[in-house]
């Protein structure tokens, strides 16, 4: 029996069980109703805020799909292995020609495919934004690819944890905690680490002094002041491990004539890229030199163009996380088993 055949049989067995479960359809139905309601609300409400066209709506809907997808996937994957053990069907699979690698990979693929069914159910609403207009096709396409990838990562974490932890409820909850750590924890760590790392800025200034007796302006002496500023630039990769930031960073951005962004993705992308730019620590303001003018602030396009695309860093972190969990899961289900988790029964 070839390796791919083994995976195919496991995937088919897993999906066959889910397709037969009523609860899966109910979950899918509830999900479609929620996505539909959100889409319609956004299509009606967002233009009132001045976010014209489908671009703003699309990015918001994609975020909702990511949110709901990462909420549903742990439930679909987090009991894949220990649930079978509780049902008494894991060991009967392990005494066949299917290796533990094929078994875990098959379970991961099946969990991913069932999570993708939820994504597929939301495609009509994403397509609606496309039809309503204002959305570039590549934005739609890239955000779909990132969604597929992210659901895969959560499915991999869920399946891996279900092999490592004994109780299904525990592994599902831990999978949710991993999703929360990525979605919220990364933001908190980024902000706190940035605040904890302060740098001293030396500001040297001179200015026109009109207080002279003859009313002539003279240049003042250079004055130096120091103050501290938080440093976020060493931590920008943490921010990129956030799936929402990753998604925004990966999608191609549309700029208007002034070089500014018009959708949620663009705004987040500019903010995340800004974090890469180290603050200037030696600032010199010469208000005597009138020829220089005031420094212009950079446009969104300039910020984005001057920084490194961060999505591949976040993507790599997620890839390593998912692959690592699946790898550990394979190791934990290897038979003949030498080590068993305390309190677990093999059969």
């Amino acid at each position: 029996m070839s390796f791919t055949d083994a995976i195919r049989v496991v995937v088919s067995l897993e999906l066959r069980q889910r397709v037969r479960a009523k609860s899966w359809y109910i979950l899918l139905g509830v999900y479609v109703v929620i996505v539909a309601a959100i889409s319609i609300l956004l299509l009606v409400a967002l233009p009132a805020f001045g976010w014209a066209g489908g671009g703003g709506v699309l990015s918001t809907i994609v975020y909702f799909v990511l949110l709901l997808g990462t909420l549903v996937t742990p439930a679909l994957s987090g009991n894949a292995v220990n649930g079978d053990r509780a049902e008494g069907t894991l060991a009967t699979t392990q005494v066949t020609q299917v290796s533990s690698t094929a078994l875990i990979l098959g379970k991961f693929l099946a969990a991913w495919i069932s999570a993708l069914a939820f994504l597929a159910a939301s495609v009509p609403f994403l397509a609606l934004c496309f039809v309503v207009g204002g959305v570039a096709f590549d934005t739609l396409l890239v955000s779909l690819v990132v969604l597929v990838f992210e659901l895969g990562v959560v499915a991999a974490v869920g399946v891996g944890l279900s092999a490592l932890l004994t109780r299904p409820i525990f592994s599902i909850v831990v999978t949710y905690l991993v999703v929360a750590a990525l979605s919220i924890g990364t933001l908190m760590v980024f902000v706190l680490a940035g605040i904890a790392t302060q740098s001293t800025v030396t500001s040297t200034t001179r200015y026109q002094d009109y207080s002279g007796s003859n009313g002539e302006s003279v240049c003042s002496q250079w004055e130096t002041t120091t103050y501290t500023t938080p440093r976020f630039d060493p931590y920008w990769s943490i921010l990129m491990a956030n799936p929402y930031v990753l998604l925004a960073d990966a999608t191609p951005t549309q700029y208007n004539a002034q070089g500014d962004v018009e959708d949620l993705f663009g705004g987040i992308k500019v903010g995340a890229r800004q974090a890469q730019i180290a603050p200037e620590l030696d600032r010199r303001y010469d208000y005597c030199d009138t020829t220089d003018g005031y420094p212009e602030s950079k446009s969104a396009k300039q910020v984005v163009d001057s920084t490194v695309p961060g999505w591949f860093v976040g993507g790599l972190i997620h890839l390593l996380l998912g692959a690592g969990m699946v790898g550990l899961g394979i190791r934990a289900t290897r038979t003949p088993a030498r080590k068993l988790a305390t309190g677990s029964r093999i059969a």
Partner: protein, 347 residues
């Protein structure tokens, strides 16, 4: 092909502080049914899991049809069928589908899998329930499904862990016939059970596990040749008692249960001698048999002695034996103290 289906040498396995298996050594031949007997917690299931290639022993060696599960688990699994003591069914799948999937997990082509599933469903008497979801089956029906699953790839070595539990009497007879048929086909069958009377009827040999170790041959011989009670059923029990006293048995050597009168017997020759005497005394015997089965007798004897030297209560040599010792005291059945001089029948 190897000479024996199962060869286990000095197997041991501990779980944390618990020494589940200390020293299991035995062989089980092809073409025969071997019973695996031991009290609860003696390590039967641990031993089964090691033989089923699910658990690695801490020390010792296993060969299943000549293959070492630690070296080539796939070869072991091709030739070994395992029926676990835990009954698991894949949620929502019908019995037929579950069997087909098991076949495919074993690497059988779809059509072969289908044909085998059909044949086995009728062999275990589940054809009418084949297309019902497996989870609605009764315990006994699940048991039969589990047996069919163990047989799907036509294994040469069968490991049946408590196959008879939950079966009604007629299903037990069917099981016994099926197990005998499988042995007649040349397979090596290892059966563990608590229902010793049943194993008596189907097993050709037995392996006794006591506190994680297989019982040595000489200890087994001692246990087997110890005195045992035979039950005499007659039209008139009072008549039997009178006859037994006339033959020379004292009060302590005559017992009663709800079915008849019990008398101590050492072996089959003794049993025949006693029956001849009873008939000669004019007792109208309707039935004459051991009060407990062979395996149960040995089992009880072994478990009551363990490793200490306390002599358990057992009948003294009866009077009808040629080499009978002098009539014992009336307290012969009471548990003697350590320094008691009661004749030790089984030493």
């Amino acid at each position: 092909m190897a000479d024996s289906g199962i060869e286990a040498v000095s197997l041991s396995r501990r779980f944390g502080a618990v020494n589940a298996l200390r020293d299991a050594t035995f062989t089980a031949p092809f073409g025969a049914v071997t019973a695996l007997i031991g009290p609860n917690g003696s390590g039967k299931t641990t031993l089964m899991l090691i033989l089923a290639s699910l658990l690695a022993p801490d020390s010792g060696t296993v060969r299943i049809a000549g293959h070492d599960p630690l070296v080539d688990a796939a070869a072991v699994r091709r030739t070994m069928g395992w029926m676990p003591d835990v009954l698991g069914t894949w949620g929502g799948l019908t019995s037929r589908m579950g069997l087909e999937y098991t076949g495919r997990l074993h690497g059988l082509p779809l059509d072969v899998s289908r044909a085998r599933a059909d044949a086995l469903l009728s062999r275990v008497g589940l054809e009418t329930l084949a297309d019902q979801p497996a989870r609605v089956l009764s315990r006994g029906q699940k048991q039969r499904l589990s047996l069919a699953r163990a047989l799907i790839h036509d294994p040469q070595v069968l490991l049946l862990d408590e196959p008879a539990s939950g079966l009604d009497p007629s299903a037990r007879v069917d099981l016994r016939d099926l197990v005998r048929e499988l042995a007649a086909e040349g397979k090596c069958v290892l059966v563990s059970s608590h229902v010793l009377a049943e194993l008596d009827e189907m097993a050709d040999g037995a392996v006794y596990l006591d506190a994680g170790a297989t019982v040595s041959a000489e200890r087994l011989d001692r246990a087997r040749t110890s005195l045992r009670w035979w039950r005499v059923r007659a039209l008139d029990h009072a008549e039997t008692e009178v006859a037994l006293r006339r033959i020379g048995l004292v009060d302590s050597q005559i017992r009663h249960d709800h079915l008849g009168v019990l008398a101590p017997v050492r072996d089959e020759t003794d049993a025949a001698a006693l029956l001849t005497r009873l008939i000669a005394e004019g007792v109208r015997v309707t039935s004459y048999s051991p009060a407990v089965g062979d395996l149960e007798h040995t089992f009880l004897d072994l478990t009551s002695r363990r490793d200490d030297d306390v002599v358990p209560p057992r009948p003294a040599d009866p009077a009808y034996r040629a080499d009978a010792s002098p009539p014992p005291s009336t307290t012969a059945f009471q548990r003697p103290a350590r320094d008691d001089s009661t004749p030790e029948e089984d030493r």
